[in-house]
């Protein structure tokens, strides 16, 4: 039995403990510990990813953790095409944020401990093969993020942190009810085994019951994604969160929601139940996509705009999942991956606006391309990637998702085919808000509303962090099969 997957959890955990203890004069060294820890995790994650889907089965770990006469909970880890990508992205983005936040001077030991703790939770969520473990890890991600926002956040950090915590916690309680309902429905011979496989094999019951349980779980997940109308915690949390927090929040934490939908809702429930929910999924997905895009246009805070663009892009993920087709799932996962990479750049850029320029308010900016060329380059790059410029990773995802949507519509025929216009509208709006934002910040007359002497361009570590992610955006944009080969090993034959 291999221990690689456990290492992915254990190494950041150890790192978190060490950095936590490095108070006093040693706190300056915390970033190096964090860097080494996350680098090792990244190397292991990369190694695991490159093993190839056929070898993933060898990495399974399964121990009974709590066992009574009626329930059994396991420490079970499993990896497949879906979790491999998410795991890779988690380790990558945490690594990137550690590099990026090397200039953090406010209690750096706690800061890095929180980052590593989030990594443990995220890894756990993506690798868990047991509902109990999954739920614990789900909550584990929440707490360090709460402190991240409320200790290192902006002016309204307490409001946002509490809102973030309560909102998503209530949702996860609903999800927990769903999990219990599902596990106990699947109980076999009076023994409720929480492992994924046991539940998947044993789950049944009437269509009504299944539909209801699906609803509970689905609610929990879409709040996390977030999907309109349960999204308002996200802009608030992002605006106040520190850059590292935002990158992880948008890059990998939102994906927990869509991961949950695919991993639990899609994999476990019968297709008839899924089809009952299809209209809701597609409807909410399209709503989020368009609504988020429109909301972006009206924002004046760069970071808030990017936060709403996440709503829009995660709406695309839900839309793709809702298509309930192989292509849909494939590109939903691809979009999760693509969006993780792209938002990392976007939030780093927005964070830099706050740090290096002093404000993120679009009306105060203007003509910065001449003053801050490197920052402007990355901002433009990120925006272009996010609006789906071919050659970058976002385009492949967008094309696949809208095609999956089109496939559904074309099969229905008749007047429904014009609904693809909604997809096209969102593409148009996305281009609109990004271009408009760029025009007002980077181009035009140089602003006189801020003190231009105090602004400075991207520093070395930030440049490295941005460059790594940008290179990956280009790499996967030109060569998407690198990722899709992993994904199809999972999505093929799922439905």
């Amino acid at each position: 039995m291999s221990v690689i997957l456990s290492l992915l959890l254990a190494i950041p955990f150890v790192g978190a403990i060490i950095t936590l203890l490095m108070s006093g004069p040693r706190e300056k060294l915390a970033k190096f510990v964090a860097l080494v820890t996350t680098a090792i995790t990244l190397i292991i994650a990369l190694y695991t990813l490159t093993l190839g889907p056929s070898k993933y089965i060898d990495l399974d770990e399964n121990f009974t953790w709590i066992k009574t006469a009626n329930i059994q909970m396991n420490y079970a880890l499993h990896i497949d095409g879906l979790s491999a990508l998410m795991m890779f992205m988690t380790s990558l983005l945490v690594f990137i944020t550690v590099i990026f936040s090397s200039t953090e001077t406010d209690r750096p030991n706690y800061f890095h401990a929180l980052l590593l703790a989030i990594e443990v939770g995220l890894m756990g969520v993506y690798l868990a093969a047991d509902y109990f473990l999954f739920y614990i890890m789900w909550e584990v991600t929440l707490i360090p993020m709460f402190f991240m926002i409320s200790w290192y956040g902006g002016p309204r950090k307490h409001y946002s942190a509490i809102k973030f915590f309560i909102y998503t916690h209530v949702a996860s309680l609903v999800m927990l009810i769903g999990i219990f309902a599902m596990v106990f429905t699947a109980a076999h011979n009076g023994l409720a085994n929480f492992s994924f496989i046991a539940v998947k094999n044993g789950f049944g019951g009437s269509a009504l019951l299944q539909t209801a349980i699906f609803g509970l779980l689905f609610f929990g997940f879409i709040v996390k994604m977030p999907i309109v109308p349960f999204h308002t915690w996200l802009p608030d949390a992002h605006v106040e969160a520190p850059t590292a927090g935002s990158v992880l929040l948008a890059g990998v934490m939102l994906k927990m929601g869509s991961y949950g939908i695919i991993r639990i809702c899609i994999e476990v429930f019968e297709s008839s139940v899924l089809y009952n929910w299809q209209t809701v999924m597609i409807g909410l997905g399209v709503l989020s996509m368009i609504y988020g895009a429109y909301a972006c246009i009206a924002q004046t805070d760069l970071k808030k705009m990017v936060a709403y663009s996440s709503v829009s892009h995660m709406g695309m993920v839900l839309l793709a999942i809702g298509c309930l087709s192989e292509i849909g799932i494939e590109f939903a996962v691809f979009q999760m991956f693509a969006h993780g990479l792209i938002t990392a750049v976007l939030f780093m850029v927005c964070g830099l606006a706050g740090h290096n320029i002093g404000t993120r308010e679009i009306p105060l900016l203007g003509g910065l391309a001449g003053k801050l060329p490197i920052w402007s380059f990355f901002m433009m790059f990120g925006f272009m990637a996010s609006l789906g410029l071919p050659g970058l990773v976002g385009f492949v995802a967008e094309f696949g998702i809208l095609y999956a949507f089109w496939e559904i519509l074309a099969k229905m025929g008749g007047i429904y085919i014009v609904l693809i216009g909604l997809g096209m509208l969102s593409m148009m709006l996305t281009a609109g808000y990004y271009l408009w934002a760029m025009q007002r910040t980077l181009f035009g007359d140089t602003t006189d509303k801020i003190d231009l002497r105090s602004i400075h361009d991207v520093n070395k570590t930030e440049f490295i962090a941005l460059s790594i992610v940008s290179c990956l955006i280009v790499l996967f944009g030109i060569w998407p099969s690198l990722a899709t080969n992993v994904i199809t090993s999972f999505s093929g034959g799922l439905l």
Binding site: I327, G367, M384, Y403, W406, G432
Partner: protein
């Protein structure tokens, strides 16, 4: 060498990366690298074209293709490959050649731009990659990728001066407008691709253009509908990219970029991509035997209308670059008109099995592509000439020029040659192709089909456009180069440096003579791309083309109209015998103002985008903050408030608790009692 065709777009992209990363210290070196790259591409394109045209593929009327799988979408794979036929050879050659000339010219024109040159040379190289990649792509998605890369580059280059420049604001909004308006077309195009992918299960040209494939999918009504919608959507992309009515208005604004960029956009890349796409998708349109006629009629109408619509706006524009921009729009309209009319005939011909009609349609196709080629040369030349004028006078306003012929002989002579060419002066390149275009537009009427009368109108509009073209081009030439030197012309720097005048001379040779190529088998090469995509056209022969052209009475009419146009311009702006002020009431007449306001299109765009974009967005944002978030906050407040109320119940006095207990008991008992009465309890 054919196997190495992929190098043609890869060389400029390598230059892009190299210049972008390593030429920070010495941006001028970037220029030499970009030129070398473009020239290498051009040489390679020539070798490849030569090899293709002498190979077995060409003689057996087959396109040369090769592909590797790029990504699998569901069950079908999307390839990345190359597709070489007569059309792509021509496109590849003129795009790389003209770009090389423009890059050489940039050495002089952009000389004083300092370190911005690095960005400039990197971006123009990428721009060239976009075009070259587009023309050798082997499927629609690959084409779309390069199509969008070109969109990006045009955005960056039109907005070249959108910061650190006195007019940064206008420049940046012009760039944004260009990107968003063309994006509108792109979005349509991608919608079309979804449909094609779903219907054909592939986006490869090879798979789509097989006659059997199209017949197979259009054998039911739904298939016909979808293919027709896809055709319209693809043409929507063309409308955006090639700036046809009603998405035309970004092109005049795109003059905000450096003149070399305008030359690149108008002559070698960008707007030619739309025409290329129409030509490339020809089989898709003409094989749709149920609805293809309507699609092609639509294409023809848009083209013909744009031609005269744009030409009219060039009549009274005072900005030398904008006159040229409108003339580009108008000439693009010609190309689209020729393709539409030719396609229409071909579609009818295929439906009825009439080979004569198919051949006639093919000549429309050839006219469109041929005009694109000629236009590339003369429009590239004209823009570079105007750049030379702007470079030495420092203004774009023709009212401040005049009399430059003495100070800038090379520029004025080459520009004269270009103007004669675009005006269709006999034996200049524009003459041949314009005549073929008009002939093509007249075809459907001559043959007497249902929509023939529409094409007849388009043909007449085309004739009027020819007159207008001659007039406004020579108005421009006379205002700039003859007469009294006005303000800026008096202190002009004189003739431009060699790096600028040599490309002018080279291009002017091509601009004058490229038309003659039609006599030496060019039509045959273009036609081959139709045959290789499965359309059963007899081989084109250029033997009696001179006879056809000169035995047609319309040729003489169009020549006469062109000459009249030139003559009127001469009377008005050189001899000053007619005062244009009388005609337009000194710029106050309704028509004059309408034209000067560009038919209010800029305002229409602004209002539409403002209303549909920002207007809705503000409503959504208000709703989001107040209704959605308001509910959430309201809910949490309600819980907190109710907690505050409940807290008061914990008074600590026994009598209060006793009261609650008694109330509770009463409620409980009465409920049970009521339920008992109403039969709530059923004894099992």
């Amino acid at each position: 060498m054919l196997d190495y065709s992929w190098l043609v777009p890869v060389i400029p992209v390598a230059c892009f990366v190299f210049v972008g990363l390593f030429c920070k210290k010495k941006p001028q070196i970037g220029g030499y690298i970009a030129i070398t790259g473009a020239a290498l591409s051009c040489i390679l394109a020539s070798i490849i074209s030569y090899e293709y045209l002498t190979s077995g593929y060409y003689s057996s009327n087959k396109a040369f293709t090769m592909a590797i799988e790029w990504i699998k979408i569901g069950g079908f794979s999307i390839n990345f490959g190359i597709y070489i036929d007569g059309l792509s050879c021509i496109m590849m050659l003129f795009a790389s050649f003209i770009s090389t000339m423009i890059f050489v010219y940039s050495l002089g024109y952009m000389h004083d731009q300092g370190e911005k040159k690095r960005r400039y040379y990197a971006e123009v190289s990428l721009f060239l990659t976009g075009m070259l990649g587009l023309v050798i792509s082997s499927n629609y998605l690959e084409m779309f990728i390069f199509w969008e890369i070109m969109g990006l580059c045009s955005y960056l280059l039109i907005g070249f001066w959108s910061f650190d420049h006195p007019e940064a604001k206008e420049k940046s909004s012009a760039a944004k407008k260009a990107f968003l308006v063309t994006r509108m077309g792109d979005v349509c195009l991608i919608g079309g691709l979804f449909i094609l992918l779903w219907v054909f299960k592939s986006l490869d040209y090879n798979a789509l253009f097989a006659p059997d494939a199209i017949k197979a999918v259009t054998n039911n009504e739904y298939g016909v509908q979808l293919v027709t919608i896809a055709s319209f959507l693809i043409f929507g992309g063309v409308i955006g990219k090639s700036a046809q009515f009603p998405l035309h208005d970004w092109l005049p604004d795109a003059m905000a970029g450096p003149t070399t960029v305008s030359a690149l956009i108008h002559a070698a890349t960008m707007v030619k991509a739309g025409v290329y796409l129409t030509a490339r998708s020809f089989p898709l349109f003409v094989y749709n035997s149920h609805m293809g006629e309507q699609v092609l009629l639509f294409i023809g109408v848009i083209g013909g209308f744009t031609a005269i619509f744009a030409a009219s706006q060039a009549l009274n524009n005072m900005n030398i670059k904008k006159v040229l921009a409108f003339s580009t729009l108008s000439q693009l309209g010609y190309m689209i008109l020729a393709l539409g009319a030719g396609g229409y005939l071909m579609c009818v011909g295929i439906k009825n099995g009439n080979e004569g009609l198919i051949a006639l349609g093919a000549s429309g196709y050839i006219a469109g592509v041929f005009h694109m080629l000629n236009h590339a040369f003369f429009k590239g030349l004209l823009f570079l000439c105007s750049g030379s004028v702007i470079h030495s006078t420092g203004t774009e306003d023709m009212r401040l020029m005049g009399g430059l012929i003495r100070k800038m002989p090379v520029t004025s002579i080459t520009m004269l040659l270009g103007s004669l060419s675009i005006a269709g002066f006999p034996l200049f390149s524009g003459f041949w192709s314009k005549d073929m275009v008009l002939e093509a537009a007249f075809g459907p009427f001559e043959e007497g089909f249902g929509f023939g009368s529409v094409f007849c109108v388009l043909f007449l509009l085309g004739l009027i456009t020819a007159f207008m073209t001659a007039f406004y081009m020579f108005r421009m030439w006379f205002m700039t180069f003859v007469g009294e030197p006005r303000e800026n012309a008096q202190h002009c720097h004189g003739e431009s440096p060699l790096s600028m005048s040599v490309p002018l001379i080279v291009l002017s040779i091509f601009a004058v003579y490229s038309g003659i190529l039609i006599l030496f088998g060019l039509g045959y090469v273009i036609n081959e791309s139709l045959i290789s995509s499965g359309i059963n056209v007899e081989k084109y022969s250029s033997d009696n083309i001179v006879m056809t052209i000169f035995s047609n009475q319309w040729t003489y009419i169009s020549i006469a109209l062109a000459l009249i146009g030139i003559f009127i311009a001469y009377l008005m702006y050189d001899k000053k015998e007619i005062n244009p002020g009388i005609l337009n009431k000194n710029g106050k007449s309704f028509v004059y103002r309408l034209l000067a306001d560009r038919y209010h299109f800029p305002q229409i765009y602004d209002h539409t985008s403002w209303g549909l974009g920002y207007g809705v967005a503000r409503v959504v944002n208000y709703f989001d903050r107040n209704v959605v978030d308001g509910t959430v906050n309201g809910l949490s407040n309600a819980i907190v408030e109710s907690g505050k109320i409940m807290r008061k119940m914990q008074s600590g006095f026994v009598r209060d608790y006793a009261r609650y207990i008694i109330i509770g008991v009463i409620v409980l008992v009465s409920t049970l009692f009521l339920m008992f009465l109403t039969g709530g309890f059923q004894c099992q």
